[in-house]
């Protein structure tokens, strides 16, 4: 859940950066660089998350369930 929401957050922030660039008539290089740096970090984190990761597959043991009073 944590990781997943991170990905959603990262992509959202990335989208905001894209929008920021789109909305600027004339981009301040300093600010632009800041945004690029931020974007690069987000992309790196997201790529890390989106790397092919083997799935965990587990057949549940039905008798290990929580007891019902």
């Amino acid at each position: 859940m944590q990781k997943e929401s991170n990905l959603t957050q990262s992509l959202k922030k990335l989208e905001e950066i894209v929008e920021w660039f789109e909305s600027q008539q004339e981009v301040d290089v300093e600010k632009g660089l800041e945004k690029v740096k931020e974007g690069a970090a987000l992309i790196k984190a997201s790529k890390e998350r989106l790397k092919k990761v083997e799935n965990e597959f587990e057949e549940v043991k039905k008798d290990l369930e929580k007891e019902v009073e």
């Binding site: 990905l7 989106l50 008798d63």
Partner: protein, 499 residues
């Protein structure tokens, strides 16, 4: 703790749960089993001290449990086979009922005499020869079957015979009632669909949204079918955590497993991102288990969003209609989960490109501005340098000239010095000679000397008289002599003749 005994107890519980068609914990809890394996109660009173075992449970399972604890599990039943064994009544009925479990069967017949007793129902089924079986079904199981028993209805019941001890009568312990024939099935399907629809269970507004990036998945399907393979091989590798609940998806057991799976996940893993219910396509008859009210209510009431990928040849299953998201195959369900992840990768790549390109363009633009400025500046600078160079050149040239001039002047001066001294000497001697000659001339022309020679100076009123014209007759003039002066009076003037 006696591990062997615990295992024996668990095996017994598994068998009992299957026989009674209930969840394991409904027979007896894990904790109670462990307590029994630990304390090994020998008598009823000791067994009743175990938490979770009260009179009711004891009445049902007490003797069997105590027999197992005594270490005579199998032997307890084996002993009944002794030829000369004499049974007590209840003892024999226990033995008989155990044996009757093996007579589990599916029986087709026509329903008659339905009596609803609240928690359970009695009904009979008969055939054309008027053979009758009295049946019993718990309300839960009746609801799981998802049909409304009516007299004259043709059904297939599944269960096993059992002698009801207080009365000594045989009744068929029914676990499931299925309808026979497409016509009835279709009618039941339509009726239930209408009923649940009116209740709003399929309404779009009550559907939950699946998280965009589903990761923790509760998968409910059969271990054997093609569906599980289709799902797993198409869902991709994004580090999903898949909890798989093996459930029959067709036939009598499916009626129980499916709803139980839904319930089980909601209770034990409520933080799953999605429950995925998949099965390959089939006829209305083979999909009966997906068209029960019990399952629909479990799905509609699930706290975890449900994604259904149930194939169907004719009508969409009611389970799918109740699901939060429905697609038509297990593969489609897998892709439904996978797509956002794939898109995230593409989106990420395109965003990365966009940001970098945009920034690169900005840099290039700015670079051009800088280059432009640099060019302008360097032009100005070059100009300044050029002027400076030229100035220096001129300065240098001038310096050379100055040097030359200085050099010239210096040599001139040094020559001049020499010349000067020679000239000066010459000038000086000339000067001396001049003075000498001048002195001689002065001496020669000294008026005093002239006077002494006999010349005299005539002046009129202080002025030297140089010409006859300077005086008039009668003027008195002063005549200076070497030894005095005379005053004379002009008496006459005679002009000398010009030569």
């Amino acid at each position: 703790m006696d591990k062997n005994l615990l295992q024996k107890l668990k095996d017994w519980r598994m068998k009992t749960a299957r026989r009674e068609n209930v969840e394991l914990f409904r027979v007896i809890s894990n904790q109670a089993l462990e307590d029994i394996a630990e304390k090994k109660p020998q008598e009823k009173s000791e067994l009743l001290e175990v938490k979770g075992i009260k009179e009711k449970k004891y009445a049902k399972y007490g003797e069997e449990i105590l027999a197992m604890v005594r270490g005579a599990g199998e032997e307890f039943f084996e002993s009944f086979k002794e030829e000369n064994k004499v049974f007590e009544v209840g003892e024999y009925l226990n033995f008989l009922n155990e044996k009757l479990l093996d007579a589990e069967a599916r029986i087709k017949g026509e329903v008659s005499e339905v009596k609803d007793r609240g928690n359970y129902l009695f009904f009979d089924i008969k055939d054309k020869e008027e053979s009758i079986i009295s049946c019993f079904i718990w309300k839960n199981d009746y609801q799981t079957s998802g049909i409304n028993l009516e007299e004259g209805m043709e059904v297939i019941i599944w269960g096993y015979p059992n002698v009801y001890k207080p009365r000594g009568s045989l009744s068929f312990q029914t676990k499931l009632i299925e309808l026979v024939g497409e016509g009835l099935l279709k009618k039941a399907y339509e009726e239930l669909k209408k009923k649940l629809e009116n209740e709003g269970l399929f309404a779009p507004e009550r559907k939950k949204t699946l998280p965009k990036y589903v990761q923790k998945i509760g998968l409910i399907t059969s271990h054997q079918g093609a569906a599980i393979g289709d799902f797993i091989s198409n869902v991709g590798n994004y580090g999903y955590k898949i909890k798989f609940y093996d459930s029959r998806v067709e036939g009598k057991q499916a009626f129980f497993d499916l709803a139980r799976g839904m319930k089980w996940f909601n209770k034990n893993f409520p933080d799953l991102d999605a429950l995925v219910l998949v099965r390959g396509g089939g006829s209305l008859e083979s999909l009966q288990a997906f068209n029960t009210e019990v399952l629909v209510r479990e799905i509609a009431g699930s706290k975890i969003p449900v994604l259904a990928g149930i194939g169907h040849e004719q009508d969409v299953t009611l389970a799918a209609l109740a699901a939060d998201k429905m697609v038509s195959t297990p593969t489609a369900a897998a892709l439904e989960i996978r797509r956002p992840w794939d898109e995230a990768i593409h989106g990420l790549e395109s965003r990365e490109k966009y940001i970098l390109n945009t920034f690169q363009n900005i840099i290039i633009e700015n670079k051009n501005v800088v280059l432009e400025a640099e060019r302008t500046l360097s032009g100005i600078l070059a100009d300044i340098f050029e002027r400076f160079r030229r100035a220096r050149e001129r300065l240098k040239n001038n310096l050379v000239k100055i040097k030359m001039t200085i050099d010239q002047d210096r040599s001139y001066l040094s020559n001049a010095g020499k010349k000067l001294s020679t000239n000066f000497e010459r000038l000086f001697s000339n000067f001396v000679n001049l003075i000498k000659s001048m002195a001689e001339k002065i001496a020669l022309h000294d008026p005093e000397r002239q006077l002494k020679l006999g010349y005299s100076l005539v002046s009129l009123r202080g002025r030297i008289v140089r010409s006859v014209k300077d005086v008039r007759v009668g003027d008195e003039v002063d005549v200076k002599m070497s030894d005095g002066e005379l005053r004379s009076k002009i008496l006459n003037k005679n002009y000398a003749k010009r030569k």
